[in-house]
Symmetry: C2
Subunit: 200 residues, 2 copies
């Protein structure tokens, strides 16, 4: 069976919540997960959408409340970062660079980056912060610093973005199960049901 495709932005609380659950859900059905960070800012330029918090009146207050409420419901640690949302191209590039060496280590890095931002309040928009978080996992500091400036690594992320948009990804998290797309952390129960039944 093909892996679940798990698209997320490192600045997305709902993506973070899903990241804490998706592997255990997939394991229950003997399925793998392909983790694919994307940049919502780039996708929003295509869809004309706006961030949940910041630009739109009314919605911002609701979503700030819902981030905390969803975290409590899902029993995931969460602290609203002071700087939010943030650009996440360095985090995404670090992920794909490491992924091409070891998918498992890249997933460990994704967890570490998400938790650094959404639990410890560290600003992972900075390349240096991404490097520090990776170094704590044993990643070579100098190699990653160089990779984040490497045009091939930048191109790698662009290719992933094109693929995501071609697959219809317009938000975070966005999970594709055997061709069936699900948007939102509040659809994890539907993802689980679909895995169990093959549809309804």
């Amino acid at each position: 069976m093909p892996p679940l495709e798990f698209y997320f932005d490192f600045s997305s609380p709902y993506g973070y919540f899903a990241s804490e659950k998706i592997d255990s859900i997939a394991r229950r059905f003997n399925r793998d997960v392909a983790w694919r960070p994307v940049l919502l800012g780039v996708i929003f330029k295509t869809t004309g959408a706006q961030p949940l918090v910041g630009s739109a009146p009314l919605k911002g207050a609701y979503f700030l409340r819902d981030f905390a409420r969803s975290a409590r419901l899902l029993q995931v640690a969460y602290k609203q970062p002071a700087s939010f949302p943030i650009p996440t191209q360095h985090a995404a590039r670090a992920f794909y660079w490491l992924h091409d060496q070891s998918p498992a280590r890249a997933i460990a890095l994704a967890h570490a980056l998400y938790r650094a931002y959404f639990i410890d309040g560290r600003d992972i928009s900075a390349a240096e912060t991404c490097v520090e978080v990776a170094a704590a996992l044993g990643v070579d500091r100098a190699a990653l610093s160089a990779a984040l400036q490497d045009s091939a690594v930048k191109e790698r992320l662009k290719t992933e973005m094109d693929g995501a948009i071609a697959n219809g990804v317009f938000g975070s998290p966005f999970i594709i199960v055997d061709g069936e797309p699900f948007h939102g952390a509040d659809r994890l129960d539907q993802v689980e049901r679909w895995l169990g039944t093959g549809g309804w």
Copy 2:
């Protein structure tokens, strides 16, 4: 206990799905529901948001698929209307006009309007269609036709819209339980849980 506040647009599939479930959920907790149709078009002007289907590439295909999938999951009859989305000011005005005579009859009319649109494919954007649907429930045809042109009835809807925006309503369905806001038909399970526990 105060009633649940149930905001919805007559052109919203997710509002329709919620309309088929909300009263039975509330009854289980001995709670009433205050039904409050709104006009998403007016709200979107305030929030800068866009309809789910139509203006945004990528999202349209997903939501058309999700309407049908959600209907199957919730076991609610659904047929995608040919004309979608539609303006719903006549439907909303008919609702409030009847509501001021009998809240229970207004809820019956809301069900009939939603089902006329989302099951039978009737275009309820037309005042005449709203009158026909209401007449089938025994509503006086001439009185309703006159009401739909009455400036006091128009003003009534405007007042409701101001109240909805003041309450933070930015989508459909939008359900407020004892001050706690929930957006989306996929949050009905959370509404139910909140009613049972008083929060988490």
